[in-house]
Symmetry: C2
Amino acid sequence: MSYTFLSQHFEQRYHLQHLGAICGWDQSTMMPPGGSEARAEAMSTLAVLCHQQLQDPRLADWFAAAEQEPLAPQHTVSLAEMRRQWHDATLLPEELVRAMSLAGSRCEHAWRSLRPANDWAGYLPLFEEVLNLSRQAASARAEALGLSQYDSLLEQYEPGMRSERLDTLFGDIKSWLPGLITQVQDKQRDETLLQPKGPFAIEQQRALGLEVMALLGFDFDHGRLDVSVHPFCGGVSEDVRLTTRYNEQDVTQALMGIIHETGHARYEQGLPAHWRRLPVGQARSMGIHESQSLFFEMQLARHPAFIARLAPLLERHFGAQPAFSPDNMARLYTRVTPGLIRVDADEVTYPAHIMLRYEIERDLIEGKMEARDLPERWDQLMQSYLGLGTKGNYRDGCLQDIHWTDGSFGYFPSYTLGAIYAAQQAAAIQQLTPLEQLIENRLTSVFSWLQKNIWQQASLLDTDRLIEQACGQPLDATAFRQHLQTRYLG
Amino acid sequence: MSYTFLSQHFEQRYHLQHLGAICGWDQSTMMPPGGSEARAEAMSTLAVLCHQQLQDPRLADWFAAAEQEPLAPQHTVSLAEMRRQWHDATLLPEELVRAMSLAGSRCEHAWRSLRPANDWAGYLPLFEEVLNLSRQAASARAEALGLSQYDSLLEQYEPGMRSERLDTLFGDIKSWLPGLITQVQDKQRDETLLQPKGPFAIEQQRALGLEVMALLGFDFDHGRLDVSVHPFCGGVSEDVRLTTRYNEQDVTQALMGIIHETGHARYEQGLPAHWRRLPVGQARSMGIHESQSLFFEMQLARHPAFIARLAPLLERHFGAQPAFSPDNMARLYTRVTPGLIRVDADEVTYPAHIMLRYEIERDLIEGKMEARDLPERWDQLMQSYLGLGTKGNYRDGCLQDIHWTDGSFGYFPSYTLGAIYAAQQAAAIQQLTPLEQLIENRLTSVFSWLQKNIWQQASLLDTDRLIEQACGQPLDATAFRQHLQTRYLG
């Protein structure tokens, strides 16, 4: 009975989050600028309400009683996930939650015009407010969870992950990545690259994107594609809202962006229908979420066999041109070039962008660094990891990402964790049937594997067990390294 | 202090309604079909929450205490409006509110495909459920408010309005309208009408619509224009969401629809910024709301002087053609033709559509008629009022409107009340300066009059006093009749 009450309570929470997800999507895709203040207030009220909902005094009694009830094994897991979310969500005082939501909405909204204006001075006070509140949150969470301040934030996105483990993992990657980047650049130096010649009409790019989404099994009855400054996969699992951004001069970027977000979307759409209103039926972690987008983008879409399927679609939408040959497209999509922008980074240099952000956000949260020092530290690390400077170029430096604008500290490691998990998943599939063969003839078998091993598992297992059960071993960068070596040096 | 608590409580309510308004807009404009079940659940949860929020036990004490506090006159009015909304919103049991929201969402969603399919049999059980719940609501409200069942629903949209008064008003209109329709048809019989030749590209129609919205002072920083099956003005006053529907063969309809919704939008955008989070700062009634859309559509946009300004815009967007001459466009836009579809009806026959719906919905709610008898009764009344049959044609008969699908019984009279109020407002302006002159040279003076006399008044006065203060006399159909006679027989 108490388990039933808890389930109903969490289902109500799911419905409230639905409203926030749709209004959040609207805020980034549809809302006129003058609506932002009222929206920020409404979203803040919702955040407080969701927070209050988990502070309902009846919950403690229900949890205590439910743990005495005879439950089927899956319901026991479901109960544990509810308890984990409940505990995690009740660590912060209501006032702080409200202030964070308001400051985050304001900073994110301002960032949309401050970034193009390269206006660091305009951004700094808004960001300082967000950072200040995030530090308060980290302290409160750290104390309650018995974790370090940064780990307490990481826990929100990657339950069970610790910076100590990340240090080891990233230490390993740092030991071979710079050498690999150099080797790949040497190898690619003499390659001939043809850039596709635009303009590529946005309507046509959108049509191509929709076609590729369909090829990748996106369910248009439960989702749609729109435009936003910073692409994301939002909405709810019954109604997934993908976004991308188009550049008339470049068809390759938006296309790959759409494929990336389609990976996120299929994970959401593939969650078990029976469970998705409850925590146990929702995405396992952000690292697993990123593993799906990166599986689609890196393991599938940049595979030569997939590019061979993309090439004729490009020709059909934009007419034939030499640059659309599969070989050339494959070279374009695997070109390694250290650059300033994370979301435009290639597969090989991407982890460097993440390690940079990880080190900075950890120090910001732990108080070892101040907001005002961000541009200088960013410039230093970019110099050290990729040999590029960002002095005075905030737009393409520390102002480039949306994450910190609303206080999502602790998220960035998920990208590289995702890349590693994706490589492990691809290696596991590869052990059954060569990926090339599946991409050429049986793409749906790949989706079935993911459906069974990842999507339908939702949060029924913890991350380590999920990956171990699917791939035969827990988190390990070996498959990722092998994948990069095979693709880029093989 | 209690007044402050109440204000905060109602501001929170405003924020929750914001989420519902945006998600409601999304549901009609953006949502893929598969999202409807989850959306219905989320909207239902929100409806219950808003309901619960007004059942907070602290409210009664706050109201009692606030009424003892020394308040400035406007705050006294604000307090009374909060009390009125609170009382009105607490009449129904939570379970009924939840069931109505769910049944309404389902019926409305199904209606979108059932209407084009002319599927009355598929619609009936869904509609019966909505009607059954609406009757329960009417009974509960009637008992608590000491009103008849139908009046208790009317009170939600037109506070203070009673069916007795409507019977008198509509009785008056019925006494002269049929004769007027005949006279106008006789007069127009020999007019030459040129239909503009399409197709009119939808993108171009949209561009024209946006231009006319700008001419009418719509604030695009606080609103946008989209497409839905049934046009509406939604969103929130800080971010007004207009919709229209386009027909490639007909440019006149969508254009006038946009102008109509722009009237609603300017009312919302013109509400006093200082008050709009509280009931006293929100729209006075649906009749007043419709008076603004009809002021824009009927008093302004169908005025020959306005059509003379529209004609060159049409030419610029679609090229010159004889049909775009101001005289011909004026004849088109004032053509009186009894037809089946309310939203396509001309200004003169429109009240007949409303009186038909008023009589039916009153009888449905009072239990004098059953849902299954709707098509027959509709057909009878259409025959009697406009000489047209709808036998077997549900699509263009009783399935044509969205209102009853979600249980909005009691709304329809607002349209004709709005037409009457709009005529009274135009007559009041006309007494100061001829409307023709204002339309030609000083359109903004018209908006200033509305801004001062209607928009900024929000709910600071009751409807009768609002109209009396603005127009010199309360609700009266004389100006409406004179307007029709002058425009159509003058």
